[in-house]
Protein backbone atom coordinates (compact mmCIF):
# COMPACT_ATOMS: atom_id res chain seq x y z
CA UNK A 1 0.00 0.00 0.00
CA UNK A 2 1.22 3.48 -0.89
CA UNK A 3 0.23 6.60 1.06
CA UNK A 4 1.31 10.00 -0.17
CA UNK A 5 0.48 12.97 2.03
CA UNK A 6 0.88 16.70 1.27
CA UNK A 7 3.83 16.03 -1.00
CA UNK A 8 5.58 19.12 -2.30
CA UNK A 9 8.65 19.45 -4.49
CA UNK A 10 10.25 22.41 -6.20
CA UNK A 11 13.11 22.63 -8.68
CA UNK A 12 14.95 25.96 -8.94
CA UNK A 13 12.10 27.75 -7.19
CA UNK A 14 9.44 26.26 -9.45
CA UNK A 15 6.84 24.17 -7.66
CA UNK A 16 6.32 20.89 -9.49
CA UNK A 17 4.30 19.08 -6.83
CA UNK A 18 2.18 21.22 -4.53
CA UNK A 19 0.53 19.19 -1.79
CA UNK A 20 -0.27 15.91 -3.53
CA UNK A 21 -2.37 13.43 -1.52
CA UNK A 22 -2.83 9.93 -2.89
CA UNK A 23 -3.49 6.47 -1.52
CA UNK A 24 -3.02 3.35 -3.61
CA UNK A 25 -4.35 0.11 -2.17
CA UNK A 26 -2.70 -3.29 -2.55
CA UNK A 27 -3.55 -4.77 -5.93
CA UNK A 28 -4.89 -1.51 -7.29
CA UNK A 29 -3.85 0.11 -10.58
CA UNK A 30 -3.74 3.89 -10.41
CA UNK A 31 -3.00 5.89 -13.53
CA UNK A 32 -1.62 9.38 -12.99
CA UNK A 33 -2.58 11.52 -15.95
CA UNK A 34 -1.41 14.97 -16.85
CA UNK A 35 0.23 17.06 -19.49
CA UNK A 36 3.98 16.87 -20.05
CA UNK A 37 5.90 18.58 -17.26
CA UNK A 38 3.14 18.34 -14.66
CA UNK A 39 5.26 16.20 -12.33
CA UNK A 40 4.06 12.67 -13.08
CA UNK A 41 7.59 11.25 -13.30
CA UNK A 42 8.65 13.33 -10.30
CA UNK A 43 5.81 11.76 -8.32
CA UNK A 44 6.93 8.24 -9.28
CA UNK A 45 10.52 9.02 -8.33
CA UNK A 46 9.31 10.12 -4.89
CA UNK A 47 7.48 6.84 -4.41
CA UNK A 48 10.71 4.90 -4.85
CA UNK A 49 12.81 7.45 -2.96
CA UNK A 50 14.88 8.58 -5.92
CA UNK A 51 13.88 12.13 -4.98
CA UNK A 52 13.44 13.59 -1.50
CA UNK A 53 10.31 15.69 -0.94
CA UNK A 54 10.58 19.31 0.23
CA UNK A 55 7.71 18.49 2.59
CA UNK A 56 5.10 15.80 3.06
CA UNK A 57 5.54 12.08 3.30
CA UNK A 58 5.52 8.91 1.21
CA UNK A 59 4.72 5.70 3.02
CA UNK A 60 5.24 2.25 1.52
CA UNK A 61 3.53 -0.44 3.57
CA UNK A 62 3.62 1.87 6.58
CA UNK A 63 7.30 2.92 6.27
CA UNK A 64 7.88 6.62 5.66
CA UNK A 65 10.59 6.40 3.01
CA UNK A 66 11.20 10.15 2.96
CA UNK A 67 12.97 9.71 6.32
CA UNK A 68 15.23 6.86 5.21
CA UNK A 69 18.89 7.14 4.28
CA UNK A 70 20.08 6.14 0.81
CA UNK A 71 21.41 2.85 2.20
CA UNK A 72 18.08 2.05 3.89
CA UNK A 73 16.27 2.97 0.69
CA UNK A 74 18.33 0.47 -1.31
CA UNK A 75 16.77 -2.29 0.79
CA UNK A 76 13.22 -0.93 0.35
CA UNK A 77 13.63 -0.68 -3.42
CA UNK A 78 14.17 -4.42 -3.78
CA UNK A 79 10.43 -4.90 -3.56
CA UNK A 80 9.59 -2.05 -5.94
CA UNK A 81 9.76 -2.47 -9.70
CA UNK A 82 10.32 0.62 -11.83
CA UNK A 83 9.70 0.68 -15.57
CA UNK A 84 11.57 3.68 -16.98
CA UNK A 85 10.28 5.64 -19.93
CA UNK A 86 13.07 4.48 -22.24
CA UNK A 87 13.64 1.20 -20.46
CA UNK A 88 17.01 2.22 -18.98
CA UNK A 89 18.38 -1.22 -19.82
CA UNK A 90 22.13 -1.72 -19.44
CA UNK A 91 23.43 -1.46 -22.97
CA UNK A 92 26.57 -3.46 -22.11
CA UNK A 93 24.54 -6.48 -20.97
CA UNK A 94 22.44 -8.91 -22.98
CA UNK A 95 18.69 -9.14 -22.47
CA UNK A 96 19.19 -12.22 -20.30
CA UNK A 97 21.80 -10.52 -18.12
CA UNK A 98 19.60 -7.44 -17.76
CA UNK A 99 16.62 -9.42 -16.56
CA UNK A 100 18.75 -11.65 -14.34
CA UNK A 101 20.49 -8.66 -12.73
CA UNK A 102 18.06 -8.13 -9.79
CA UNK A 103 18.03 -11.87 -9.07
CA UNK A 104 21.81 -12.07 -9.06
CA UNK A 105 22.05 -9.01 -6.82
CA UNK A 106 19.34 -9.76 -4.29
CA UNK A 107 18.77 -13.50 -4.12
CA UNK A 108 20.85 -16.56 -3.47
CA UNK A 109 19.35 -18.59 -6.29
CA UNK A 110 21.59 -20.98 -8.17
CA UNK A 111 22.57 -20.29 -11.77
CA UNK A 112 20.08 -22.95 -12.86
CA UNK A 113 17.24 -21.34 -10.86
CA UNK A 114 18.08 -17.87 -12.15
CA UNK A 115 18.11 -19.16 -15.72
CA UNK A 116 14.75 -20.88 -15.31
CA UNK A 117 13.15 -17.82 -13.71
CA UNK A 118 14.47 -15.44 -16.37
CA UNK A 119 13.34 -17.66 -19.22
CA UNK A 120 9.90 -18.10 -17.66
CA UNK A 121 9.50 -14.36 -17.16
CA UNK A 122 10.63 -13.57 -20.70
CA UNK A 123 8.24 -16.21 -22.07
CA UNK A 124 5.35 -14.80 -20.05
CA UNK A 125 5.94 -11.48 -21.77
CA UNK A 126 6.07 -13.07 -25.23
CA UNK A 127 9.79 -12.53 -25.51
CA UNK A 128 11.13 -15.61 -27.24
CA UNK A 129 14.75 -16.20 -28.18
CA UNK A 130 15.94 -12.69 -27.40
CA UNK A 131 18.03 -13.59 -24.36
CA UNK A 132 21.34 -13.30 -26.17
CA UNK A 133 20.54 -10.04 -27.90
CA UNK A 134 21.71 -6.64 -26.79
CA UNK A 135 19.05 -4.01 -25.98
CA UNK A 136 20.19 -1.98 -29.00
CA UNK A 137 19.15 -4.86 -31.27
CA UNK A 138 15.52 -4.75 -30.08
CA UNK A 139 12.54 -2.68 -31.20
CA UNK A 140 11.09 -0.04 -28.86
CA UNK A 141 8.19 -2.27 -27.84
CA UNK A 142 10.45 -5.21 -27.09
CA UNK A 143 12.81 -3.04 -25.06
CA UNK A 144 9.86 -1.96 -22.92
CA UNK A 145 8.85 -5.56 -22.39
CA UNK A 146 12.39 -6.51 -21.38
CA UNK A 147 12.49 -3.55 -19.00
CA UNK A 148 9.15 -4.70 -17.58
CA UNK A 149 10.54 -8.22 -17.16
CA UNK A 150 13.46 -6.77 -15.19
CA UNK A 151 11.09 -4.66 -13.09
CA UNK A 152 8.93 -7.62 -12.03
CA UNK A 153 11.50 -10.41 -11.80
CA UNK A 154 11.64 -10.15 -7.99
CA UNK A 155 7.82 -10.51 -7.71
CA UNK A 156 7.46 -6.89 -6.72
CA UNK A 157 4.95 -5.52 -4.21
CA UNK A 158 4.81 -2.21 -6.03
CA UNK A 159 5.12 -1.58 -9.76
CA UNK A 160 5.81 1.92 -11.06
CA UNK A 161 5.59 2.60 -14.79
CA UNK A 162 6.77 5.86 -16.28
CA UNK A 163 5.05 6.57 -19.61
CA UNK A 164 4.99 2.89 -20.67
CA UNK A 165 3.34 3.63 -24.02
CA UNK A 166 5.35 6.66 -25.10
CA UNK A 167 7.05 6.27 -28.46
CA UNK A 168 4.99 3.21 -29.38
CA UNK A 169 2.37 2.84 -32.12
CA UNK A 170 -1.28 2.31 -31.03
CA UNK A 171 -1.10 -1.49 -31.33
CA UNK A 172 2.13 -1.78 -29.34
CA UNK A 173 0.75 0.70 -26.80
CA UNK A 174 -2.28 -1.49 -26.35
CA UNK A 175 -0.10 -4.59 -26.03
CA UNK A 176 2.19 -3.18 -23.38
CA UNK A 177 -0.78 -1.78 -21.44
CA UNK A 178 -2.45 -5.19 -21.48
CA UNK A 179 0.77 -6.83 -20.33
CA UNK A 180 1.06 -4.40 -17.40
CA UNK A 181 -2.57 -5.05 -16.47
CA UNK A 182 -2.09 -8.82 -16.61
CA UNK A 183 1.07 -8.74 -14.53
CA UNK A 184 -0.36 -6.39 -11.92
CA UNK A 185 -3.34 -8.69 -11.45
CA UNK A 186 -1.16 -11.79 -11.38
CA UNK A 187 1.25 -10.39 -8.80
CA UNK A 188 -1.45 -8.53 -6.88
CA UNK A 189 0.89 -5.55 -6.62
CA UNK A 190 0.02 -1.88 -6.23
CA UNK A 191 0.67 -0.29 -9.60
CA UNK A 192 1.13 3.37 -10.40
CA UNK A 193 1.36 4.35 -14.05
CA UNK A 194 2.34 7.84 -15.18
CA UNK A 195 0.86 8.43 -18.60
CA UNK A 196 -0.82 10.84 -20.98
CA UNK A 197 -2.26 8.01 -23.06
CA UNK A 198 -5.94 8.44 -22.20
CA UNK A 199 -7.30 5.49 -24.20
CA UNK A 200 -5.16 2.83 -22.56
CA UNK A 201 -5.28 4.48 -19.15
CA UNK A 202 -9.07 4.24 -19.19
CA UNK A 203 -8.87 0.58 -20.19
CA UNK A 204 -6.53 -0.64 -17.49
CA UNK A 205 -6.72 1.83 -14.60
CA UNK A 206 -8.88 1.02 -11.57
CA UNK A 207 -8.66 4.69 -10.72
CA UNK A 208 -7.25 7.73 -12.45
CA UNK A 209 -5.71 10.86 -10.97
CA UNK A 210 -5.32 13.98 -13.09
CA UNK A 211 -2.45 16.30 -12.14
CA UNK A 212 -2.54 20.01 -12.86
CA UNK A 213 -0.33 22.74 -11.44
CA UNK A 214 1.24 20.27 -9.06
CA UNK A 215 -2.06 19.24 -7.49
CA UNK A 216 -4.50 16.37 -8.01
CA UNK A 217 -7.16 18.16 -10.06
CA UNK A 218 -9.46 15.14 -10.39
CA UNK A 219 -9.64 11.60 -9.13
CA UNK A 220 -11.95 8.70 -9.91
CA UNK A 221 -12.73 5.75 -12.13
CA UNK A 222 -12.71 5.90 -15.91
CA UNK A 223 -16.49 6.09 -15.84
CA UNK A 224 -16.42 9.04 -13.45
CA UNK A 225 -13.93 10.81 -15.69
CA UNK A 226 -16.10 10.28 -18.74
CA UNK A 227 -19.12 11.73 -16.96
CA UNK A 228 -17.23 14.54 -15.30
CA UNK A 229 -18.53 18.06 -15.80
CA UNK A 230 -15.23 19.54 -14.64
CA UNK A 231 -13.95 21.95 -17.27
CA UNK A 232 -10.29 20.92 -16.98
CA UNK A 233 -11.08 17.19 -17.08
CA UNK A 234 -13.19 17.65 -20.20
CA UNK A 235 -10.54 19.77 -21.85
CA UNK A 236 -7.80 17.26 -21.04
CA UNK A 237 -9.81 14.35 -22.42
CA UNK A 238 -10.47 16.17 -25.66
CA UNK A 239 -6.74 16.66 -26.32
Amino acid sequence: MIEIKALTKSFNGQKVLDGVDLTIAKGEILVVLGQSGTGKSVLLKHIIGLLKPDSGSVKLNGTDISQLTERELLAVRKKVGFLFQDGALYDFMTVFENVAFPLVEHTKLSVQQVTEKVIATLESLDLHEVGNKLPSELSGGMRKRVALARAIILDTDILLCDEPTSGLDPLRSRDISDVIYKISRKLGCSTVIASHDITNSFRIGDRLALLNDGKVAAMGSAEQFRKSEDHFVKEFMLR
Binding site: I48, L50, R77, V80, F82, A88, E105, R150
Partner: protein, 258 residues
Amino acid sequence: MERVGLFQKFHNMCCTIGEALVFFGEVLTSIVQGKIRWNEVRKQVYEQGAQTIIIVVLTSLAAGAVLAMQGYVSMSRFGAKEFVSHLVALSLVRELGPVFTALIFSGKAGAKIAAELGTMNVNEQITATRAMGVDPMEFFVVPRMLASFMVLPLLAVIFELVGMFGGYIVGIFQAHLPGSFYLSQTIRAIEFVDFFSGFIKVFFFAVIISWICCYEGFKTRGGSLGVGQHTTNAVAYSYILVIISNTFLTKFILTVWG
Protein backbone atom coordinates in the same frame (compact mmCIF):
# COMPACT_ATOMS: atom_id res chain seq x y z
CA MET B 1 26.99 43.01 -11.97
CA GLU B 2 30.41 41.66 -12.88
CA ARG B 3 31.29 41.28 -9.23
CA VAL B 4 28.11 39.24 -8.68
CA GLY B 5 29.01 37.08 -11.71
CA LEU B 6 32.50 36.45 -10.39
CA PHE B 7 31.20 35.68 -6.92
CA GLN B 8 28.67 33.26 -8.44
CA LYS B 9 31.41 31.53 -10.44
CA PHE B 10 33.62 31.26 -7.37
CA HIS B 11 30.67 29.90 -5.38
CA ASN B 12 29.91 27.33 -8.09
CA MET B 13 33.55 26.29 -8.22
CA CYS B 14 33.64 25.80 -4.43
CA CYS B 15 30.43 23.75 -4.62
CA THR B 16 31.87 21.55 -7.40
CA ILE B 17 35.08 20.95 -5.43
CA GLY B 18 33.01 20.12 -2.35
CA GLU B 19 30.84 17.69 -4.31
CA ALA B 20 33.92 16.06 -5.84
CA LEU B 21 35.45 15.62 -2.38
CA VAL B 22 32.25 14.05 -1.04
CA PHE B 23 32.19 11.78 -4.11
CA PHE B 24 35.77 10.68 -3.43
CA GLY B 25 34.93 10.14 0.24
CA GLU B 26 32.05 7.85 -0.73
CA VAL B 27 34.32 5.82 -2.99
CA LEU B 28 36.94 5.48 -0.26
CA THR B 29 34.26 4.48 2.25
CA SER B 30 33.03 1.75 -0.09
CA ILE B 31 36.59 0.48 -0.57
CA VAL B 32 37.37 0.55 3.17
CA GLN B 33 34.09 -1.27 3.90
CA GLY B 34 35.16 -3.97 1.46
CA LYS B 35 32.33 -3.33 -1.00
CA ILE B 36 34.46 -4.35 -3.92
CA ARG B 37 33.14 -6.34 -6.87
CA TRP B 38 36.29 -8.11 -7.97
CA ASN B 39 34.67 -9.47 -11.13
CA GLU B 40 33.91 -5.93 -12.26
CA VAL B 41 37.41 -4.82 -11.26
CA ARG B 42 38.90 -7.62 -13.36
CA LYS B 43 36.81 -6.58 -16.40
CA GLN B 44 37.87 -2.98 -15.97
CA VAL B 45 41.54 -3.89 -15.58
CA TYR B 46 41.33 -5.73 -18.88
CA GLU B 47 39.42 -2.96 -20.67
CA GLN B 48 41.53 -0.07 -19.40
CA GLY B 49 44.79 -1.94 -19.91
CA ALA B 50 44.00 -3.47 -23.29
CA GLN B 51 42.93 -0.23 -24.85
CA THR B 52 45.94 1.76 -23.66
CA ILE B 53 48.87 -0.63 -23.89
CA ILE B 54 49.54 -0.32 -27.63
CA ILE B 55 49.73 3.47 -27.49
CA VAL B 56 51.93 3.23 -24.41
CA VAL B 57 54.34 0.85 -26.14
CA LEU B 58 54.57 2.91 -29.34
CA THR B 59 54.96 6.21 -27.49
CA SER B 60 57.52 4.89 -25.06
CA LEU B 61 59.62 3.29 -27.78
CA ALA B 62 59.71 6.59 -29.67
CA ALA B 63 60.26 8.64 -26.50
CA GLY B 64 63.17 6.45 -25.36
CA ALA B 65 64.78 6.56 -28.80
CA VAL B 66 64.43 10.34 -29.13
CA LEU B 67 65.77 10.84 -25.62
CA ALA B 68 68.82 8.73 -26.47
CA MET B 69 69.39 10.55 -29.78
CA GLN B 70 69.25 13.98 -28.15
CA GLY B 71 71.26 12.77 -25.18
CA TYR B 72 73.92 11.34 -27.48
CA VAL B 73 74.31 14.64 -29.39
CA SER B 74 74.45 16.74 -26.21
CA MET B 75 76.72 14.45 -24.23
CA SER B 76 79.12 13.83 -27.11
CA ARG B 77 79.98 17.55 -26.93
CA PHE B 78 81.34 16.93 -23.46
CA GLY B 79 82.87 13.59 -24.34
CA ALA B 80 80.42 11.77 -22.12
CA LYS B 81 78.39 9.69 -24.55
CA GLU B 82 78.77 6.66 -22.24
CA PHE B 83 76.27 8.33 -19.92
CA VAL B 84 73.45 8.30 -22.46
CA SER B 85 72.03 5.20 -20.78
CA HIS B 86 71.98 7.05 -17.42
CA LEU B 87 70.13 9.95 -18.95
CA VAL B 88 67.55 7.73 -20.65
CA ALA B 89 66.93 5.49 -17.65
CA LEU B 90 66.67 8.26 -15.05
CA SER B 91 64.52 10.49 -17.24
CA LEU B 92 62.14 7.66 -17.97
CA VAL B 93 61.84 6.32 -14.45
CA ARG B 94 61.66 9.63 -12.60
CA GLU B 95 59.70 11.83 -15.03
CA LEU B 96 58.70 10.74 -18.49
CA GLY B 97 57.34 7.32 -17.60
CA PRO B 98 54.86 8.48 -14.97
CA VAL B 99 53.82 11.71 -16.73
CA PHE B 100 53.56 10.39 -20.30
CA THR B 101 51.71 7.28 -19.20
CA ALA B 102 49.30 9.33 -17.12
CA LEU B 103 48.56 11.65 -20.05
CA ILE B 104 48.03 8.75 -22.45
CA PHE B 105 45.87 6.95 -19.89
CA SER B 106 43.65 9.96 -19.25
CA GLY B 107 43.19 10.54 -22.98
CA LYS B 108 42.20 6.93 -23.62
CA ALA B 109 40.91 5.09 -20.57
CA GLY B 110 39.92 8.25 -18.68
CA ALA B 111 37.86 9.56 -21.57
CA LYS B 112 36.20 6.15 -21.88
CA ILE B 113 35.30 6.12 -18.20
CA ALA B 114 33.78 9.61 -18.35
CA ALA B 115 31.89 8.93 -21.59
CA GLU B 116 30.56 5.54 -20.41
CA LEU B 117 29.33 6.83 -17.06
CA GLY B 118 27.98 9.99 -18.69
CA THR B 119 25.99 8.02 -21.27
CA MET B 120 24.64 5.70 -18.57
CA ASN B 121 23.63 8.75 -16.61
CA VAL B 122 21.72 10.48 -19.39
CA ASN B 123 20.06 7.17 -20.34
CA GLU B 124 18.93 6.75 -16.72
CA GLN B 125 20.89 3.51 -16.31
CA ILE B 126 22.51 4.84 -13.14
CA THR B 127 19.11 5.91 -11.77
CA ALA B 128 17.76 2.48 -12.73
CA THR B 129 20.57 0.87 -10.73
CA ARG B 130 19.53 2.83 -7.64
CA ALA B 131 15.90 1.97 -8.37
CA MET B 132 16.84 -1.73 -8.33
CA GLY B 133 18.36 -1.37 -4.87
CA VAL B 134 21.98 -1.47 -5.99
CA ASP B 135 24.50 1.22 -5.07
CA PRO B 136 25.79 2.64 -8.38
CA MET B 137 28.92 3.88 -6.64
CA GLU B 138 29.75 0.31 -5.69
CA PHE B 139 28.73 -1.14 -9.05
CA PHE B 140 30.18 1.40 -11.49
CA VAL B 141 32.66 3.72 -9.79
CA VAL B 142 34.64 1.62 -7.30
CA PRO B 143 35.67 -1.02 -9.89
CA ARG B 144 36.75 1.64 -12.38
CA MET B 145 38.81 3.53 -9.82
CA LEU B 146 40.43 0.43 -8.35
CA ALA B 147 41.27 -0.82 -11.83
CA SER B 148 42.94 2.51 -12.62
CA PHE B 149 45.02 2.25 -9.43
CA MET B 150 46.33 -1.09 -10.69
CA VAL B 151 46.58 -0.48 -14.42
CA LEU B 152 48.33 2.89 -14.50
CA PRO B 153 51.39 1.88 -12.42
CA LEU B 154 51.69 -1.28 -14.51
CA LEU B 155 51.53 0.71 -17.74
CA ALA B 156 54.14 3.12 -16.38
CA VAL B 157 56.53 0.22 -15.74
CA ILE B 158 55.91 -1.03 -19.31
CA PHE B 159 56.50 2.49 -20.61
CA GLU B 160 59.82 2.69 -18.77
CA LEU B 161 61.03 -0.74 -19.91
CA VAL B 162 60.07 -0.22 -23.56
CA GLY B 163 61.47 3.32 -23.46
CA MET B 164 64.78 1.94 -22.21
CA PHE B 165 64.72 -0.55 -25.05
CA GLY B 166 64.23 2.34 -27.50
CA GLY B 167 67.24 4.06 -25.92
CA TYR B 168 69.22 0.81 -26.10
CA ILE B 169 68.65 0.53 -29.88
CA VAL B 170 69.91 4.07 -30.41
CA GLY B 171 72.77 3.53 -27.96
CA ILE B 172 73.99 0.52 -29.91
CA PHE B 173 73.39 1.61 -33.50
CA GLN B 174 73.99 5.35 -33.29
CA ALA B 175 76.28 5.85 -30.32
CA HIS B 176 78.03 2.52 -31.04
CA LEU B 177 78.08 1.57 -27.38
CA PRO B 178 78.45 -2.15 -26.54
CA GLY B 179 75.10 -3.70 -25.65
CA SER B 180 76.26 -5.26 -22.39
CA PHE B 181 77.85 -1.97 -21.34
CA TYR B 182 74.63 -0.05 -22.07
CA LEU B 183 72.59 -2.54 -20.07
CA SER B 184 74.92 -2.61 -17.07
CA GLN B 185 75.05 1.21 -17.05
CA THR B 186 71.25 1.35 -17.15
CA ILE B 187 70.92 -1.03 -14.21
CA ARG B 188 73.56 0.90 -12.30
CA ALA B 189 71.85 4.21 -13.00
CA ILE B 190 68.54 3.34 -11.36
CA GLU B 191 68.40 3.24 -7.60
CA PHE B 192 65.43 2.22 -5.52
CA VAL B 193 64.60 5.85 -4.70
CA ASP B 194 64.28 6.64 -8.43
CA PHE B 195 61.83 3.86 -9.00
CA PHE B 196 60.01 4.65 -5.75
CA SER B 197 59.63 8.36 -6.56
CA GLY B 198 58.24 7.47 -9.99
CA PHE B 199 55.83 5.04 -8.39
CA ILE B 200 54.54 7.66 -5.93
CA LYS B 201 53.86 9.98 -8.83
CA VAL B 202 52.10 7.45 -10.97
CA PHE B 203 49.88 6.28 -8.12
CA PHE B 204 48.96 9.87 -7.33
CA PHE B 205 48.12 10.46 -11.01
CA ALA B 206 45.98 7.32 -11.06
CA VAL B 207 43.94 8.68 -8.16
CA ILE B 208 43.54 12.09 -9.81
CA ILE B 209 42.58 10.78 -13.26
CA SER B 210 40.12 8.11 -12.11
CA TRP B 211 38.56 10.48 -9.58
CA ILE B 212 38.04 13.32 -12.09
CA CYS B 213 36.82 11.05 -14.90
CA CYS B 214 34.39 9.11 -12.70
CA TYR B 215 33.10 12.31 -11.09
CA GLU B 216 32.60 14.09 -14.42
CA GLY B 217 30.83 11.04 -15.86
CA PHE B 218 28.67 10.65 -12.79
CA LYS B 219 27.43 14.26 -12.80
CA THR B 220 26.76 14.38 -16.55
CA ARG B 221 23.44 15.94 -17.54
CA GLY B 222 22.00 17.20 -20.79
CA GLY B 223 21.99 14.38 -23.34
CA SER B 224 24.70 13.81 -25.92
CA LEU B 225 25.92 17.41 -25.67
CA GLY B 226 26.41 16.95 -21.95
CA VAL B 227 28.31 13.70 -22.49
CA GLY B 228 30.65 15.41 -24.94
CA GLN B 229 31.20 18.39 -22.66
CA HIS B 230 31.83 16.39 -19.50
CA THR B 231 34.14 13.96 -21.28
CA THR B 232 36.19 16.84 -22.66
CA ASN B 233 36.26 18.45 -19.21
CA ALA B 234 37.38 15.19 -17.63
CA VAL B 235 40.36 14.83 -19.97
CA ALA B 236 41.28 18.53 -19.84
CA TYR B 237 41.16 18.70 -16.02
CA SER B 238 43.14 15.46 -15.76
CA TYR B 239 45.87 16.82 -18.06
CA ILE B 240 46.11 20.11 -16.18
CA LEU B 241 46.18 18.49 -12.75
CA VAL B 242 48.72 15.85 -13.78
CA ILE B 243 51.10 18.49 -15.17
CA ILE B 244 50.70 20.89 -12.25
CA SER B 245 50.79 18.28 -9.50
CA ASN B 246 53.89 16.77 -11.12
CA THR B 247 55.77 20.01 -10.45
CA PHE B 248 54.90 19.98 -6.76
CA LEU B 249 55.49 16.26 -6.42
CA THR B 250 58.91 16.57 -8.06
CA LYS B 251 59.86 19.38 -5.68
CA PHE B 252 58.60 17.36 -2.71
CA ILE B 253 60.40 14.19 -3.76
CA LEU B 254 63.66 15.98 -4.48
CA THR B 255 63.46 17.73 -1.11
CA VAL B 256 62.74 14.57 0.85
CA TRP B 257 64.79 11.93 -1.00
CA GLY B 258 67.01 13.92 -3.32
